[in-house]
């Protein structure tokens, strides 16, 4: 049995559609379930406020749903698309589009559930500020959707741009890699920016007078959380628009796929970690608004260190894309480059989350005990440095795979 090119492209678009809505449905459902759970908890503590709480829950869930709706739209487009592709490259681009949107919706869906749920809790604690809480929830959840929107943009570009001019190999790997990179890269930032959104809602309920400060603090924190998703978008765009057609197909295909995996996976940890620090900062400012300067500073230092693994991932991706490879006749040469991408990508996840947990502990206690800010910042940096070590091992192994073996 042989497949002609249009049939293969059609097959790829159906597979892409399956990935897209299958993965894309995970996050929105989890996020909305979290919101509904906290809404019930809130109603049980103050049943008279159920009207406000249910209204807030539905608005919050609607925003979390949008990530799932983006995935649905892309999946339907993939199914009914009259593909302009006359080349096998299009098949890879369509699978990449499905992965980008499907994976990319996971984080945003989960993340936007936090502000929704915590705003419901806040209404039961402090019914007088329910309007202010819903507003803050909307701002916080909207920021959580940013990574899903990045993913949708990359998916649409992969679907509708014509990549048919270059050689099939390694261009297919560049396009598939772009989709994987943006998809994974959006997960961490989406989940991470949910934490400050949720804590800011709870904080406004606790300390309504500080609501302006809290919204600002939330926005600073969640903006920093977007960095890993932006790195992923940059690498995805580079993979789509740089011309790799003249490079030898093997091992370049593995290098390009590895480049996408490296930044995409490493961004998961850094996005979540940055969010943990930002959430602690919002919580701390609500508890003790006078400490906002020191708390925000500690948060930013902690977030900056949490970004390190995603920067390592970016570095490995850039090396994989721009290194000049001789034509490889063995299988070992491409596998070394694919292994380098997997190693740095997966290796960056844990340290990113760990650095965030460290920053969370430090920021929480700077707000409670500002006299200890110096020793806390020092301990945080020492702890983060140790937690970073495995990311450095992963980078060393990646560099050995790229340059030594």
């Amino acid at each position: 049995m042989t497949l002609d090119v249009p049939t293969t492209v059609k097959l790829a678009s159906y597979v892409g559609a399956g990935f897209c809505i299958g993965l894309g449905a995970i996050g929105a459902a989890l996020g909305e379930g979290f919101t509904a759970g906290l809404a019930n908890q809130s109603i049980s503590s103050d049943p008279r406020k159920s009207g406000d709480i249910i209204k807030n829950m539905l608005v919050g869930q609607a925003i979390a749903e949008s990530a799932g709706i983006f995935a649905l739209v892309i999946a339907i487009l993939l199914i009914f698309l009259e593909s302009p592709g006359t080349s096998l490259v299009k098949a890879a681009a369509l699978v990449g589009a499905g992965l980008s949107m499907g994976l990319g919706a996971v984080g945003s869906g989960i993340g936007s559930g936090y502000p929704g749920g915590k705003a419901c809790l806040g209404i039961s604690m402090q019914p007088t500020v329910s309007g202010r809480l819903t507003t803050n929830m909307l701002i916080g959840s909207a920021v959580c959707q940013t990574p899903a929107i990045f993913s949708m943009v990359i998916a649409l570009m992969l679907m509708f741009l014509d990549f048919g001019k270059g050689a099939v190999s390694p261009t297919w790997a560049a396009l598939l890699g772009a989709g994987i990179c943006m998809g994974f890269g959006a997960i961490g930032s989406g989940i991470g920016s949910g934490y400050p959104g949720g804590e800011a809602c709870l904080g406004i309920a606790r300390q309504p007078t500080a609501s302006g400060l809290l919204t600002t603090n939330m926005l600073i924190g969640s903006a920093v959380c977007q960095t890993p998703a932006i790195f992923s978008m940059v690498i995805a765009l580079m993979l789509m628009f740089l011309d790799f057609g003249k490079a030898p197909p093997s091992p370049t295909w593995a290098a390009l796929l590895g480049a996408g995996i490296s930044t995409g996976l490493a961004a998961i940890g850094s996005g979540m970690g940055g969010g943990m620090a930002a959430g602690a900062s919002c919580e701390g400012v609500a508890r003790n608004p006078d400490t906002i300067g020191q708390t925000t500073t500690t948060m930013l230092v902690g977030q900056a260190v949490s970004q390190t693994p995603s920067i390592f991932g970016l570095l490995v991706s850039l090396i994989l894309m721009f290194k000049v490879y001789p034509e490889a006749t063995t299988l070992a040469a491409p596998m070394a480059l694919l292994g380098a991408g997997l190693c740095m990508g997966a290796g960056g996840i844990g340290p990113g989350i760990g650095n965030g947990m460290t920053a969370q502990g430090a920021v929480t206690w700077v707000a409670r005990n500002i006299e200890a800010a110096g020793v806390l910042t020092r301990t945080m940096l020492v702890g983060q440095a140790v937690s970073q070590s495995t990311a450095i091992y992963a980078m060393v192994v990646s560099l050995v795979l790229m340059f030594v073996v």
């Binding site: 063995t330 990508g345 844990g350 301990t379 702890g383 970073q388 495995t390 192994v397 795979l401």
Partner: protein, 82 residues
């Protein structure tokens, strides 16, 4: 491109090295971060015990690091020995 046995073994060793160090780095990264976060909380509560707490944190992290080092050793074995 003809794939020979020795080439296939090398290819598998390289992918294996990447997977070993990549996945092996996840646990220690999270675990050490958790230990450090708790140490910061404890120092926030009792700043006068900062030295003892930092020491305990470092010992705990060193133990948590061990599986990361195992992964590194296995990755290096796969890269340079087998």
């Amino acid at each position: 491109m003809a794939i020979e046995g020795a080439d296939l073994v090398k290819a598998a060793a390289f992918i294996g090295a990447g997977l070993a160090m990549g996945f092996g780095a996840i646990g220690p990264g999270v675990g050490e971060g958790y230990a450090a976060g708790k140490a910061c909380e404890a120092i926030g509560r009792k700043p006068e015990e900062a030295d003892l707490l930092t020491r305990t944190m470092l010992v705990g992290q060193a133990v948590s690091e061990s599986t990361g080092i195992y992964s590194l050793v296995v990755a290096l074995l796969l890269l340079f020995v087998v």
